[in-house]
Symmetry: C2
Subunit: 253 residues, 2 copies
């Protein structure tokens, strides 16, 4: 969706190393924003983005107009009914159908061998991976690690909408997650206990918490005990800006 930061550029560099032809799409997709969400306020910096992509040696920037994608009479939706229900699906009920529809369209237009996604949007990554598998879209889905500020805050275009004071509070999410990961490394596997560890940081410093969840990393279904690969995920509001982050954890076999 543009307003590129080092997280996006890390995807670009990884893809640049591995691909003959590299296409980047920038499209602030209206159908994935709810009626009360920040579509109008979402940062848009196309001229700056173009410079950055040129410096990274991107071959093609695909930045269509809204009416070129959603043409007169458009009415087709691609949706998933399990992976989209928990986590961000609770607060953003139609969000992921908007995401899967636009990603299906972009994959059809661009026909890439491989698509590179960030794991910061973890649920989105798992949903797109599943959609590609279910529809037999001939594209490999690669999820790459989250890129962070020095204090650990996950890079996000939305961080630009935080005040200096809000920015300082924003690292509470990764601090909570990291504390839980440390506890897990030291033998704590109870999801209740790990959630409380995360909550004690996040609830203290964020204005509202949408969810703190520890779920199976593939199905995103709730678990009681981290006895399989899992992801710990948080969504919280600071100054009206919705921030998400996650860490994967996995028992040593």
């Amino acid at each position: 969706m543009g307003a590129l930061h080092e997280g996006h550029l890390s995807l670009v560099r990884n893809a640049r190393d591995r691909c003959d032809r590299l296409v980047v799409s920038i499209f602030v997709n209206p159908s994935q924003f709810g009626p009360d969400e920040d579509f109008d306020d979402y940062p848009r910096e196309l001229a700056k983005d173009m410079d950055l992509l040129q410096q990274e040696g991107v071959d093609v920037l695909f930045s269509p107009r809204r009416d070129q994608i959603y043409r007169d009479g458009h009415q087709t939706r691609v949706s998933l009914h399990q992976l989209t229900a928990p986590l961000c699906g609770l607060n953003r009920p139609d969000h992921f159908a908007g995401v899967t529809t636009i990603v299906a369209i972009l994959l059809q237009i661009i026909q890439p061998n491989t698509v590179y996604l960030g794991r910061k949007d973890y649920q989105q990554f798992r949903i797109i991976e599943r959609m590609v598998q279910d529809l037999f879209i001939p594209t490999e889905v690669v999820g790459l690690p989250t890129i962070r500020e020095r204090d650990g805050l996950a890079l996000s275009s939305r961080n630009a909408n935080l005040s200096e004071q809000g920015r300082k509070r924003a690292n509470s999410i990764i601090r909570g997650l990291q504390n839980a990961k440390d506890a897990f490394s030291n033998g704590t596997t109870s999801v209740d206990t790990l959630r409380n560890i995360i909550a004690s940081e996040v609830k203290k410093r964020c204005d509202a918490v949408h969810y703190i969840a520890i779920v199976d990393k593939k199905t995103l279904q709730p678990i009681d005990n981290v006895n399989r690969p899992a992801v710990m995920a948080v969504a919280a509001l600071i100054e009206g800006v919705r921030l998400i982050d996650n860490l994967e954890i996995e028992p040593i076999q």
Copy 2:
């Protein structure tokens, strides 16, 4: 879905003339049948179908098992929300989401330049045409004319489930449609009048009528007067067998 008849073979011959490589899919798709519909009774004649396709010079028959298409955890649906609502959508609410999902999957697996569909399933043809357009699937959609018995009955795999007596009554659908088309050619453009002409044949001879509709041929929305290209479509039951047929009509400009 197999149980091939001359309607299917007409598609095959048209495609054979126009294409270098010709793939036919046969898959009785469970997700397009409702819970009380005829999935179990749908005719299946794969060995005979293979012979017929070999005689026609088909290059590849793609006939996957159900669990090869709908794999563990499958949850993705492709759906349209306008074209699917009227006509057959009234009696078969989830039917077309099953159709569009399987067709999207088949197009991804086979990646054809062109897909050939019959116009007997007129609504299905328009829905698939729209889906391909909306998702930018790089396939051309071609709809070919309905093939008929000598008495006009549209060929359908389901005709095999009619008794001799039911078979005789089944041509009332095309007779009603043809009478209306003749009236239209003679200047009748009122949809009410044309529908009554169709109904007087169909209601007399069929066991139940699901719909008799005259709609815009692209949007499938109701019209009062045939002042634009339209389609007259009927669905009716004979001996529990659901039969559909249609004729296109168009004002002379």
